[in-house]
Each structure stands twice: as C-alpha cells, then as structure tokens.
C-alpha cells in the first residue's frame, strides 16, 4: 500500500560510494500535513537521504515519487521547480549577498523575467524584485529576523545564519520542506521560537521532514519519526512508540559514548 497519494516516498533507496553502503535499500514515506522527524546517529545517512530526495545524489537503486509522479530522472533544479526545497546542514549562504537577498533567492524560482529586465530598469523587473523582497521580508519576520535584512552573513552569529537558511527554504511556499538540523547552533529560546514557527507552517498540504539531533524538538513537534542507523530504517512510528523502542534506546545510549 502506498498510503496517502499526497506524499513524498522513497522505495528501496540504495546509495553507495565506492563500495561503502550509505543507504541500504530503505523505504520512507513522508506525508503531507505531518511533520516527520528523521533521526539517527552521526553518519547514519540522514543528509544523504535528503540529497537523494532533492536530486543532489543519484541513488543506485530505488524510486522516488512525489504525489505519485516519479522524480528519479529530474535534476535538483527541476525538483525545486516542483516545490521541493531544503535547508543545508552546513549553512550555504552567499557571503556577497545581504541576508534579505539571500532569502530572496528562495522565491526566485517563482519568477521569470528575462535578461533584459536584469540589466535595464524595466517595470516588470522592478515589480518582480519588489515582490521578491516583500516575500523575503515576510519570511524573515516570521523567523524573528526582522531588522537584520541588510546585514551580511559574515556579521551574524551561526545560529542566526541557520534561521536565515530556513527562511530561504520556507519563503517560496514550498510543497516539500526538508530541514537538515535546523536547530543546530540555536539557544533554547531560539529553538522554542523555531518549534512554534515550524508547527505553524505545517499546513495540510505541506510535506515537512526535519533531521535533528535535538530530541526535545523532534519529540515535541513531530507527528512521526523515522530512526536511521547505518543506512537502514530501524524504527518508525509516533514519538511515543519510538521513545519506547528498545533498539532505538540502545543505538542512542551507544551513541552517547562518543
């Protein structure tokens, strides 16, 4: 059974680099309207799974579908065009651009004015940029970053940059939102604000997946959780089920040692 058709699914995804199996034929289903958590120790393959879903990596085996359509042949850019966006574990903002401009890139895919509008002061070009700017300002204030629009990334602390990264991901009304460790580097109150924002974003037609090491965050905002270890799913279920799972406890206790 495919469950709801309104989902991003991966079937039998296998990915290896030079003989090292990073994903071992796993099945996942991320449903719209839910926040799905993806947890697991370092090196489990969480980011690699994101990379497969967005097309940055090509899995050797398996199929990825969204709303029932196969995504496998599509480039990352084409998947972005379908509204599948992500944030990066290692903040990937342009140091040349202001915070606002970095976030504006998140809506760029929805606008199409040609090159002439880039070089000449045309009506269409200016209107587009104004619309992009307005959208980006909205996203920034949603994440509590209002007032920092004209700062450069080099002038902000890492936690703020992560929020900017998230603002860039949510600004373009994504259909699938993949967040890779959104709370890393945030302090407690920032994390709480972020949790509230993410809950608010979780509308009925958004697929949201959160990779996170902060268990409080995962347990309190996620509807469902996948636990990944050595490239395989070891558990899946509600936060309560996952918390009670002996295998998961063992992995995390073992993981605590290092």
């Amino acid at each position: 059974m495919d469950g709801t058709a309104n989902a991003l699914t991966g079937r039998g995804l296998a990915l290896s680099f030079g003989g090292i199996e990073v994903l071992k034929g796993l099945d996942v289903e991320f449903r719209a309207g839910e926040i799905t958590g993806l947890i697991g120790p370092n090196g489990a393959g969480k980011t690699s799974l994101f990379n497969c879903l967005t097309g940055a990596y090509r899995p050797q085996k398996g199929a990825i579908t969204y709303l029932g359509h196969a995504l496998d042949g599509l480039s990352p850019a084409a998947r972005a065009g379908k509204g599948i966006v992500r944030s990066f574990q290692h903040v990937a903002l342009s140091p040349d651009l202001s915070v606002l401009e970095n976030v504006m890139i998140g809506v760029a895919r929805n606008y199409h004015a040609g090159w002439l509008h880039a070089f000449l002061p045309t009506r269409r070009g200016t209107d587009e940029m104004a619309a992009m700017r307005a959208a980006a300002e909205g996203a920034l204030s949603e994440l509590g970053l209002a007032g920092l629009e004209h700062k450069l990334p080099s002038e902000l602390p890492p936690g703020m940059l992560r929020l900017v990264e998230i603002a860039r991901a949510i600004v373009g009304q994504p259909a699938v939102l993949l967040l890779d460790e959104p709370a890393a580097g945030l302090n407690n109150s920032e994390t709480r604000d972020l949790m509230r924002t993410l809950r608010k974003l979780a509308t009925s037609d958004l697929v949201m997946v959160v990779v996170e090491h902060d268990m409080d965050l995962v347990m309190s905002i996620c509807d469902r959780i996948y636990v990944l270890n050595f490239g395989a799913i070891v558990a899946c279920g509600s936060p309560q089920e996952v918390r009670a799972n002996q295998e998961v406890v063992r992995i995390y206790l073992g993981d605590d040692d290092d």
Partner: protein, 300 residues
Amino acid sequence: MSDGLGNILLDLFPLMWSGMITGCLYALGALGLVMIFKSSQVVNFSHGNVAGFAAFLIYGFSSGVLLNLSWGVAVLLAMIAVVAIAFLIYAVISPLVFESELTATISTLGFGLIAQGATLLIFGADIVNLDLPIPRFSMSFLGLFITGYDLTVLAVAVVTIGTLFFVVDYTKLGIAFRAISENPFAAEVCGLNLRSIHLFSWIVAAILGVVGALLIVPTTFLSVTTVAAFMLQAFAAAVIGGFASLPGSLVGGILIGILMNLFTFYVSAEFTSTFLLVLILLALNVFPNGILARAGGSRV
C-alpha cells in the same frame, strides 16, 4: 591504389617519427608543469618564459654577450640561475598557495611577464643563434631519416624522464612527493614538510624546462617568444595527460607531437593553434582526468 597507400605510409612514418621526437620535448615541458601542479595545485604559467630566459642565459654566457664560457659551464650557470629563480618564485607565492591555488596561479603570470621583460631588457628582441654541441650525422633506417639531433633528443629525454620516474617512484623524496599529491593534509599530519616538497617540484620543473628549451632551440632559432610558444604545446600535452599524471603527460606530449605534425602536413599549417584549442577542449571534456585515467566516479 596500393601505390597511393604506400605513399601515405612513406609520409606517415617519418611524420610520426619526427612528431615523437618533438613530442618528447613537449613531454619534458609538460612534466614540469605537472610536477608543480601535483604537489601544489598551481599551474605555472611562467614556465615557458623562465625556460626561455634560461636558454638566453646560456646563449649569453657562451657567446660573449655576457660572458665567454665553455658550453658546459654556461649550461651549469644557467641551471643554477633557474633554480634560484624557481626558489624565488616559490618563496613569493607560497603564502598564496595555501590560501587559493587560483590566486597563486595568476601570480605565476606575473613572474612570466617579468621573465619576458627581463629577457627583452638584457638580450633585446632580436633572434639569436644558439648552437648545441650535437653530433652531426644522419642515417637512413627502415625508410626513416634519423639525425644526430633526433638521437640526442631521444637519449636526453629517456635519461631525464627515466631519472625523474625513478626518483618519484623509489626515493624518499619521491615517495613524499606522491604522498603529498595524493592527500596534502594527511601527508602533512604524517610529518612531511609541504613546503620542501613543493620546492622540490618547482626546482625539478625548472630544470626539466631548461632541458626542453635547450633541445627545442636547434629546430628553430632563439627569440623571446620561441620557448614560450613551445611551452604552449607542453600545456596541451599536460592537459591531455590529465594534468595530474606524470606518465599521462609523457603520453600526452608524444601524442601532441605526432598529432600536430600530422595536422600540419595533411590539413593545414595555418591553424595549428586552433587545432590545439580544439584538442584541449576535447581532451578536457572527453577525458577530464586524462587519457590514462581509470574510469571511476567522482565525489559529489
């Protein structure tokens, strides 16, 4: 019919032979570029101009323009000068190498300009004759016309390249060089001194460049641009060999030598640079890791 084929073969073999001889020289140039690139990821655009400057120094030292020394001493002095120059260049750019290879690469263009200007200032823009003490004889062998020059080039190339490969494969220095070109960080952690290996490759490259430059001169004449132009073929050879492979650049050099000869003879002598451009673009796209590279995926 068979007569036409015979004629083609009659042309082809000598063309390939002489192409291979020049190709050996391109390979000498390319090996220097690749040595430097392998160790420090820098493309040395000053290679040709510095080697050209050295050839002029030998001319100056042996002809009475600067000094009136015997040929051997002149070569020795020029070698010392070139090693000193390599040392100087590396000293200036080494802080850049660790920051950005591309910036360091651009700065080698600066040294190339200075070397060219220095050559012009000291020796002028005129063409000069630099005679090498090469055995003058020729013989016919299997329809090939083989000269003393050919054999000299072959012998010098075999000895030089053989020595280089021996050093890289079997000596401690060579092993350190290979370790660093595989993984500079790990090699440094293991206690190898990056700078001394870099310097080793710069100095070896400079010497290879001078040898190549000296041997190419008898086929033409010596002017400010001859050697620099010759080094451009060496660039193509290095690119075709994958830029990071010593055996690759040897094969690349010989291939370029032969292909250029065939192209000049059968197609056109006027579009050689365009032919090189096409070769380089083709090589970079079809064999991005060089013609000798094993097929394999690259990391994302």
